[in-house]
Symmetry: C2
């Protein structure tokens, strides 16, 4: 006896789109509606969605195990105010779940042997070391992510017939594909998928911007600076003459004003992750990134105790999703450090704002009692008039067990001027960070291969040579 | 007075999907239906769609100009049998249209200043020299392309929950994105987008196949051979032990049997282009690539006269689309050389079949009166037991104006054995092609940088050093 032929599912019949757009409005419907929802109404919406996510999580082996080990029982979670009772988890727990049950782990909530087929798509974490962590998305999960991405691009000024040049890595990680889907499906603009410099060399990227009249650029700030300086200093073309309307980036603590002056265009900051796409984004006022609070509950917590901190104080972001069917995240410790901006945004939006992403808690280096973030060093490097903004931090341990950081910075200065620049930067670091760092100057482009600036999706700013158990 | 805010279109409301799936059925609905349609019924369907395409083309400046210059008038085209009266056009005409009206040319049939916005996506030609040629797709154009891609993958054995590893270039060109959309939206399988070796190095590609248990590989044959040999000869892993169910390729005249033996999996050939996606594909019988004749009319024509040739004879493919709203193609000379397979396929499908793509007319080298295709040389190289299949043809002109071709081939043989191999290949070329070629042996991997094997979407097999006007 043959088994019956499997049904082949089609994406567009697996979702009720009009219903989904009522739940998660797009573009101006969002901006004029949910974005301005009174706080109490928003809280009620969050609570309803949160309880549904918790119920879903109880069906998934990962949460059953993790929560039961902490003594959590279903009756303990009756409302959003019980959130603090739920034990957070981290990427280490996800890695452990992958190892327990390869290749998908037991946190997706999908069983291919039992569940009827549905259209699935997969992306992964960056995977800078080892195999990247895979994440599957159900049609509803992915579509909400596309809606949120479309929303943020609309908030950031992308309009029908705009040409948006996406210079992000295209492959297993999420950034490039998600931008393409959000632009194409929900803004009326046209995605121009050039990928990183490894796929489309920088001079070809420039040729495309000029010939096709690209209106927005999506890229990492370091790459935008790299292109801008190449245009200005080598090709003798003023980047501002290209008529770019917006620079859409993950800004972190990079120098916004410098980039804006270079390109003559506003910088729009975004907070996005591989697990759930766009979580927060600058509106046209650029006073902080509005969290999509109909789709997420974000808490800022002390990195050590994981207890919530007050608005304005820095801590790690704990993510709770309000829409995911596969791998819902409930108090996921993202390791990203940010703070909530107190007060209201002039745009009239009621959703809370993240200040910026200051860095990653696991990228933080403790040097003689002081917390040092490579990102903060980068911000100081970029301030120096003879710097092109490129830097790399290297941490070593000497025979006595003492930790040292050397900061390599690129400059086209020569001889004595180089030494002066190094001394100025060392002074500035000591003054701003309270710790002594060594500074070494190198020629422009020399760090490229080690940071991955032209070829990788994320630029590497820290090399930690200390033994793993002594950090 | 402010202009009213532009409406932001959403992809899924710009199409009537159930209606579209009736016109262009997907997966098994296609295989059990339109694929077996009696010839007369299929012809009637083609005729109806063809006349609608011609009507659309008369609205587009490119066709107005091109057809009017040839004296064509609307009343001349009354049925599909009038096809031969329409003047073909080539990529040169498209380039000319782009130059006339940058950046989009005048063949799209879209006017951003007048037409209401709709969700658009853009991909380009490969762009090996100069800026790639852009092509825009309306929602209907793209969705039909996705349906056809899903169809072909279903014909080629892709089933729900399969993992399909796509090792094609991801960027401006179409191949990788189209595969992702077709797999995801219309097969129930999961696309695993690793890109070329430039994005995911070959050893990481292998690690992913093994760990995630990939079921199908989508790549160029040269890259599949490269991976298979690396597995077998360097990692000492039998590629057949990975359990790959199918190799989905643009085969051309590459050696099917050798690839199938290496991987222990069937090879499925496909004919696809940037302008309109998947045009024809092998079914499970693999007796030639069934043309999707509800979406295309393909003619095989003499490359010089452009007059149709008989079934079984070789010529260039003239493409006529039956579904495109933007840039419909009517008798587009693709430059791809193929032939129609006479007779019927055991699968019961009624649509005609292409034998294979023998090469490109513009890649053909005339050497002392003989037509030589690099692809045919590659097929002979692959037959040699000491070859890894890698080769590169270089054409030069000596002072007397005489053309010479040198074929570089990779081998790990040394000393005298190398010389013997070179002599054997030179004899084989003379015998099979009727022309004398020089042969030079080089070490494995040595051609990589010049052919682009590990990094590019299309592998380069011909370097023509002759002056452009003397070819």
């Amino acid at each position: 006896m043959n088994a019956p032929a499997p049904t082949v599912p089609r994406y567009y019949e697996s979702l009720d789109f009009p219903e989904l757009w009522k739940e998660f409005p797009t573009a101006s419907e969002y901006q004029d509606g949910v974005a301005r929802m009174p706080a109490a109404e928003l809280r009620a919406l969050q609570e309803r969605r949160f309880l549904a996510q918790v119920q879903r999580a109880w069906q998934i082996p990962f949460y059953q195990r993790h929560w039961s080990q902490a003594g959590l029982k279903p009756q303990h979670i009756q409302s959003l105010s019980d959130l603090a009772a739920i034990p957070p988890f981290s990427v280490h727990d996800l890695r452990d779940a992958l190892a327990r049950n390869p290749p998908w782990g037991d946190f997706m909530g999908i069983d291919p042997d039992r569940d009827p087929p549905m259209p699935l798509v997969m992306q992964t974490s960056g995977g800078t070391t080892g195999l990247p962590r895979p994440m599957l998305y159900s049609p509803r999960d992915r579509e909400v992510m596309n809606i949120l991405t479309g929303r943020r691009l609309h908030m950031q000024g992308v309009r029908p017939y705009d040409l948006v040049q996406v210079m992000l890595s295209l492959g297993l990680s999420n950034g490039g594909f998600l931008a393409r889907e959000g632009i194409w499906k929900y803004t009326g603009a046209v995605p121009v998928m050039t990928g990183t410099g490894a796929v489309t060399p920088t001079r070809r990227q420039i040729e495309i911007m000029q010939t096709w009249k690209t209106t927005q650029l999506v890229a990492f700030p370091a790459y935008l600076r790299h292109i801008g300086l190449l245009l200005r200093d080598e090709l003798h073309i003023d980047p501002r003459s290209l008529g770019i309307k917006g620079l859409i980036v993950h800004l972190g603590v990079d120098d916004r004003e410098e980039l804006e002056a270079l390109w003559g265009a506003p910088v729009y900051d975004t907070y996005g992750t591989n697990e759930c796409g766009s979580l927060a984004a600058d509106c046209s006022e650029r006073t902080g990134m509005h969290i999509f609070e109909d789709a997420f509950v974000l808490e800022i917590a002390d990195p050590d105790t994981l207890r919530p901190v007050a608005d304005g104080e820095r801590g790690v972001i704990l993510q709770t999703t309000l829409f995911k069917h596969f791998a819902p995240l409930i108090r996921f410790n993202s390791n990203d450090i940010s703070s909530i901006v107190p007060g209201h945004c002039p745009c009239g939006g009621t959703h809370r704002r993240l200040s910026c992403i200051f860095g990653r808690a696991d990228n933080m280096v403790k040097l003689r009692g002081t917390n040092v973030f490579p990102e903060a060093i980068g911000a100081l490097v970029a301030e120096h008039p003879s710097s092109n903004g490129e830097y790399l931090c290297i941490v070593d341990q000497d025979a006595t067990g003492r930790d040292h950081m050397t900061v390599l910075v690129e400059t086209d200065l020569g001889g004595r001027e180089r030494e002066t620049m190094a001394a100025q930067l060392a002074d500035r670091f000591k003054e701003a960070l309270g710790v002594k760092l060594a500074v070494t100057t190198v020629a422009p482009g020399e760090l490229d291969a080690r940071t991955g600036l032209s070829s990788a999706s994320k630029v590497r700013r820290l090399i930690d040579n200390r033994p793993k158990d002594k950090r």
